[in-house]
Symmetry: C2
Amino acid sequence: MELNMFQEHARLFKALSHPTRLHLIGLIRDRNPCVKVLEEELGVAQPNISQHLSILRNLGIVEAKREGNQVCYRIKNPLVLKLLDAIS
Amino acid sequence: MELNMFQEHARLFKALSHPTRLHLIGLIRDRNPCVKVLEEELGVAQPNISQHLSILRNLGIVEAKREGNQVCYRIKNPLVLKLLDAIS
DNA sequence: TTAGTATATTCAAACATTCGAATATATTAA
DNA sequence: TTAATATATTCGAATGTTTGAATATACTAA
């Protein structure tokens, strides 16, 4: 197993190592929601949600699509779903 | 999905979010090695290895068994193996 | 007992993450 | 245009993680 593999996997696990991000991923998986919906569901301040979404975007875990006034999110890397299914 | 579930899963993912710990888990899975062997394989200082093993022990991911002079490690929570298989 | 080997713990400095506050940007409606 | 709504970014303080250095503990051999 390559050393860089460990780094890459560690980065992915780190992205999943915060409860808010796991909650976000769960909602995004189910409904491809826009940020407003995520904000209401989580009861977390909007800038904080955007910060967490930014982390997930930068790792290629989710992707954003603007739809008029709002931005909707969906899962980009299905590997993440495999991991979530494996853990629950 | 309960809020505490996200916390619990996040804790597990955090334990897996460091390359050294992933390397350790891989070796432990294959050979149930003692710390000396882990030290040689990883080329990382012994106290640092013990620190990472302590994190994995505290989360119930691995367990230690003293064998005379040395301490051997093995996987305790097989869920971790499911995760590692899912990611690779 | 003492010396040697194997492992664990403690501490502090360096570094990274998290979050609220403030602000910026994008789009729509008036 | 201006105002309103939705989302993103920046910054800094608080907090958490990582690591090397020093030290402690456990066992074995002499």
